[in-house]
Subunit: 182 residues, 2 copies
DNA sequence: CTCATAACAAAGTAACCAGTTACTCATGGA
DNA sequence: TCCATGAGTAACTGGTTACTTTGTTATGAG
């Protein structure tokens, strides 16, 4: 009976919780997901989840912030050693890969929808500031080009959310085709 | 005591509920909003809300579908009697006006975020199909132009959600400026 | 071996939620 | 005047929620 359970560090548990939370929050949003479900998916008790993250909202913010920061890091990696159109193109390419991970995509969309909450809004604004700064700096392109870059990203977001890549339609395919750089 | 209460038709009540629901759902999403709050805001009892709409989700779908159909109608009105770039420009102008209503904007974003749900996704896809069809037909522009049109709309959505119009930043202003047709 | 510390959970708690039952009353037509 | 129909609600139900209290056990340093 005395099964000797080995313990993990709090940091390892936090990691597991963040992973589980990403799955739940991405599908159900802040209010739709339950801390109990997340705790179970992470393999810990629900009280311990609260010990690790304080409140549900703090966990949510940690989860979403991480997801969005991954985009920043991917852009940095993709653009390293490149400039101008080259850099922009590389970041664009990396983005299509990023949002094929629907978990990350939907977490971002949850954030946009949740922007009525000041904490969520602040978090999103901070990441976007860094993102825009990075893209402007590494590409050196004028505002019109930068806006088009982000605009096409946002369109791909919703097309992907609608699952128009997995379950295509003629009109969806036309929109996707129109996103390719000519 | 016998205060003679005048009664409204079910249709009038439905209207009141849809209005109240738009406010709540836009801010809190499907799971964050409570049927009790919506009913109180609409001036009816919570059981009667269920009599009128069956389930919370049906009410949600009715609310969001209406919000998105208003976009279609606005586009139709704006483009009437116009063609080509003219029509496209008129619809673009009308869109900036439409999403200044943050309630409608956020309802749409809630839908995008909620696309994991098949019913929500189907509803969004239907409206988009009509929207794309309308814009393609009335403008007659090629896919690249159509995509750019919707892309800029989606970018304006998130910029507005972040409240970058009410509470501006340099980087936000640059993105907004880059959206203007040159 | 000792003991402080950190990992972890069982069992609550109070509030809230979607949805139901069972009922009252107003209205308009015959 | 009667009554069928539709408008409307008080009171409840079974379940879930975020979060707490209180405790136990593993672990690593001295």
């Amino acid at each position: 009976m005395s099964t000797t359970t080995t313990r993990q560090t709090a940091e390892e548990r936090r990691e597991a919780v963040l992973t589980a939370a990403a799955g739940e929050f991405s599908r159900q949003g802040l209010h739709g997901a339950s801390t109990d479900t997340i705790a179970k998916a992470a393999g810990i008790s629900q009280p311990y989840l609260f010990r690790l993250f304080g409140t549900k909202k703090e966990l949510y913010l940690a989860t979403t912030a991480r997801a969005m920061e991954e985009i920043y890091q991917a852009f940095e990696r993709a653009s390293r050693g490149k400039r101008g159109e080259d850099a922009l193109h590389a970041m664009g390419e990396s983005y299509t890969g990023l949002i094929e991970n629907r978990e990350r995509l939907q977490l971002m969309l949850q954030c946009f929808a949740g922007c009525d909450d000041p904490d969520v809004r602040e978090s999103v604004r901070r990441v976007w500031q860094e993102l825009v700064d990075l893209v402007e700096r590494t590409s050196g392109e004028p505002p019109e080009v930068i806006s088009t870059f982000f605009a096409k990203g946002m369109l791909l977001n919703v097309l992907n959310a609608m699952q128009l890549f997995d379950d295509p339609t003629p009109w969806g395919d036309r929109l996707i085709a129109g996103c390719e750089p000519s």
